[in-house]
């Protein structure tokens, strides 16, 4: 039986000691976000996830969702867990208090997304998609739409979906065919017709209504991405009842089937058929994709948190197994003579996998929480210059967090299987599920290949490289500041070298890419990984500095915690950061060997 304990000590270390998250309470709207409230929320949220969501993770995987003639039933226990979750107010954690939300920082929501994903990624999809629908309406909807839908979504009585993908288009949304015609007799309504596939939470039994956000084309729409509009299409048409909204007639949208799939089996992935379904335009006509992109950062970062959560749960179970499983003796001599063999945690290869999991999860936690905090600053800071600066940093680091954290979440899940040996391959032990569940996060919300293109194609050149400078300048200054500190040199020097190579690679890709875009394309995933490792190094250096500072004083009962941090930092700089060298070399080698083969030669 797998185990899960939310890593609250490490979470609080990052929140308070590295990020000083309580400074957020100085921002207008976040006055309540004191350190002790944030800690209490994380503790209580962890308890809910550990006691209610985690026990449903394996059973949900085994049972999956059921489809019967248009109706979808979630696995046993999901309804009760969903009710506990929504009654606790967790859907509205970071939502606008005007519509019943708690108005807490996005950062706290990020922390909860990590914990929820680790406990039960499938379950997290349902409130996660509601969050997406909430954001779309909150940012782009009319006042009437907000007043109608947002309170219901926040309460969890209605859930949300995002309908982008169609059978012939996922990445290339310019090809969308679903159409929206003005409804003949109703003011402002449209009739939506078309077919969407792979729609998460498209149909299920957890809520009385489902609010679909659908991309479709108006009759006069220009070709391609400039002709796509966003519509809200409720499963049941809302009906006014004594100043509140309830559900009325069934709308013309139905679930055609659900997919049998590799992972997240308790999350319903639906084919959605729209036949003259009534919908209402959200935002301006033909600006649907733009509307989607404004909320993309939060959604992509959310997927990055899924990667981290999967890494964490996989790592925890790998450690538990490695301490328990007795097999062979340590190479340098028996460690536990009273046992028939040593626990496998003594073996270097096993350790390397465990250390990789540890260094990844702790580093990525710091990195993604930092960006989560920047997202809050970008939304709430009174100074527009500060808002812009934070926004640019978030925009730059979003594709990096999405792709790197989901790639590594998968890798660590695979390592957890490897640590388990044959047991890892067996369902009952729980870890093979993490491999299957983690896999999708590399694909949806823009595949990781597309994230890399976003980084080199859009973010790198945007505003003449200003986004890059938002990261490069503070990092350069920090290296400058710390390099004279002898105790930190073992960390600063490798980071400074990797950073220099990253800057070199940046210039190279920018110049070569201008002449031949395939050069930039072929380098993109290597570049993203290099960038991610340097960003992780930036975080690990800060954590190492903090740990040393605390150990220099009297760290008391936390001495072991900080010593462990330092050791893990050492592993990161010695064993993980050097991957930047290899990536640099492959970037240097250019696109030719990738592109020269004719398609027929494959």
């Amino acid at each position: 039986m797998p185990i899960f304990n939310a890593p609250t000590d490490d979470i609080k270390f990052v929140l308070h000691e590295i990020l000083k998250c309580e400074t957020l309470s100085a921002l207008p709207g976040y006055e309540d976000a004191s350190a002790d409230l944030i800690d209490q929320i994380i503790d209580e949220g962890s308890k809910l996830c550990q006691e209610e969501l985690f026990p449903l993770n394996q059973s949900g995987d085994e049972e999956g969702c059921h489809f019967d003639n248009g109706t979808v039933t979630t696995p046993k226990g999901f309804q009760q867990a969903y009710d506990l979750f929504t009654e606790g107010g967790w859907v509205g954690l970071s939502c606008d208090p005007e519509y019943g939300g708690m108005g807490l920082p996005q950062l706290v929501n990020f922390v909860m997304q990590e914990i929820i994903s680790a406990a039960n990624m499938s379950f997290g999809m349902y409130p996660g998609l509601s969050q997406g629908a909430y954001d779309a309406i909150h940012l782009h909807g009319s006042d009437e739409q907000k007043a109608l839908y947002l309170p219901k979504i926040i309460e969890g009585k209605w859930s949300g979906t995002m309908n982008l993908t169609e059978p012939h288009c996922g990445t290339d949304l310019g090809l969308i065919r679903t159409k929206a015609d003005p409804a003949p007799d109703e003011d402002g309504a449209y009739l939506i017709t078309g077919s969407k596939i792979y729609i998460s939470a498209g149909e299920h039994d957890l809520t009385e209504n489902i609010v679909h956000l659908v991309l479709a084309r108006l009759p006069d729409a220009p070709e391609g991405v400039k002709g796509i509009s966003l519509f809200v299409v409720p499963k049941f048409l809302p009906k006014e009842d004594n100043g509140d909204w309830t559900i009325g007639e069934r709308n013309g949208v139905s679930c055609g089937s659900i997919e049998k799939k590799m992972g997240i089996k308790a999350s319903a992935t639906c084919v959605m058929n729209y036949e003259n379904a009534k919908g209402w335009l959200v935002g301006a006509p033909h600006k649907g994709l733009r509307a989607m992109f404004t909320m993309m950062n939060a959604a992509r970062l959310g997927v990055g948190m899924q990667g981290l959560g999967m890494g964490e749960i996989a790592y925890q179970n790998a450690v538990a197994f490695a301490k328990d499983r007795l097999q062979m003796r340590a190479l340098d001599g028996t460690k536990y003579p009273d046992k028939p063999a040593d626990p496998i945690i003594v073996h270097p290869d096993v350790r390397k996998m465990l250390m990789t999991g540890k260094a990844f999860t702790e580093g990525a936690r710091a990195l993604s929480y930092w960006v989560g905090m920047q997202l809050d600053i970008s939304e709430k800071h009174p100074d527009p210059a500060k808002r812009e600066e934070a926004e640019e940093l978030v925009a730059l680091l979003t594709p990096i967090i999405k792709a790197y954290q989901t790639d590594m979440g998968s890798d660590v899940a695979n390592m957890a299987v490897q640590v388990h040996g044959g047991h890892g391959f067996i369902w009952e032990y729980g870890v093979e599920q993490y491999v299957r569940d983690a896999r999708i996060a590399q694909i949806y919300e823009g595949t990781n290949g597309i994230q890399a293109l976003d980084l080199v194609g859009r973010k790198m050149s945007k505003k003449y490289g200003r986004l890059l400078r938002r990261f490069f300048h503070p990092l350069a200054a920090y290296i400058e500041k710390t390099q004279s500190d002898e105790a930190l040199q073992e960390f600063v020097f490798p980071l400074a070298k990797a950073f220099a190579k990253l800057q070199q690679a940046t210039v190279m890709i920018a110049t070569k890419g201008l002449k031949d875009p395939n050069e930039a394309g072929a380098a993109s995933t290597d570049y993203l990984r290099m960038f991610a490792l340097v960003a992780m190094g930036y975080m690990w250096l800060q954590m190492a500095e903090k740990a040393q500072e605390n150990l220099a004083g009297d760290a008391g009962e936390k001495t072991e915690f900080y010593e462990t941090k330092l050791q893990t930092a050492r592993f990161f700089f010695q064993k993980m950061l050097p991957e930047t060298d290899a990536r640099f070399k492959t970037i240097l080698a250019g696109a030719d060997s990738v592109m020269s083969l004719k398609a027929e030669a494959f």
């Binding site: 002790d36 409230l37 009654e87 606790g88 107010g89 967790w90 807490l104």
Partner: protein, 249 residues
């Protein structure tokens, strides 16, 4: 009606307990702490009475170091109206706690005090009984149901022989058993509201209580590891072992 609910901060129920190397106690450093599960049930019951309109005010109280305020915040988040923290770093034994609670009861004048039947750290199962004796109030221990009538209360107790139903006069001291209710998770809005609720502090000195321990702990050690069992091949062999080896029959 006013209800006083004492709550204790203990090592979290899911943490694996480790005995300190010097055998002076159990490891509490760097260990996750939570509200004693039986106390959670007590808070839950008090809040349910309030929600049912049978109680007007619920006051949570905890004795111990500053960190106890976290436990009180949890009680406030579940729904208590205010909290009292009896600040002390002393090692508190049941009699000392009962005396402190008596002091609080005398100033708060509750109609009912609901405690957990025991705390999962010491498993003493004494504080409620001692408190009732000190106050001279009736006691209903290990309750699995509770009904409030005009000036009395009807409770069901879980006892060895089955269930016992009693009617008690108010004020009274009650202690909760596991089956009384299933405590809720504090909701986000209630956690935020709890921040604005008051926590009063007092001390053993103010309450005039001498909390110095009456017992001295000589040594705390792990229970002996369980030895592997043996299979017996007949009923007679089993009876023989029970009689002569285990000496239980």
């Amino acid at each position: 009606m006013k209800i006083l609910v004492p709550v204790k901060r203990v090592i979290d129920a899911y943490v694996k307990i480790r005995v300190k190397l010097d055998e002076t106690g159990v490891e509490t450093q760097n260990v996750k702490m939570s509200m004693n599960p039986f106390c959670e049930i007590a808070v839950e019951e008090a809040i349910r009475l309030k929600e049912a309109g049978k109680a007007d005010e619920v006051v949570a109280v905890s004795a111990g170091p500053d960190a106890c305020q976290e436990t009180l915040r949890t009680a406030l988040a579940i729904g208590a109206d205010k909290a009292i923290h009896i600040q002390t770093d002393a090692d508190l034994q049941p009699l000392a706690i009962a005396k402190l609670l008596k002091g609080v009861a005398e100033s708060e004048n509750p109609d009912l005090i609901i405690l957990g039947k025991q705390a999962i750290d010491g498993d003493n199962n004494q504080t409620g009984q001692m408190l009732s004796a000190l106050l001279g109030w009736p006691q209903g221990t290990f309750i699995s149901s509770l009904d409030i009538e005009d000036d009395s209360i009807v409770i069901t107790r879980e006892i060895d022989g089955g269930l016992q139903t009693l009617r008690l006069n108010r004020p009274a001291v009650l202690t909760t058993d596991l089956r009384l209710n299933e405590p809720r998770y504090p909701s986000l809005p209630n956690m935020m509201k709890a921040k604005k609720k008051p926590i009063d502090t007092t001390t053993p000195e103010t309450l005039g209580v001498d909390v110095s321990p009456r017992f001295e702990t000589l040594k705390v050690s792990e229970p002996p590891a369980r030895e592997a069992g043996v299979k017996v091949d007949s009923v007679d062999a089993l009876i023989d072992k029970l009689k002569n080896e285990a000496k239980v029959i």
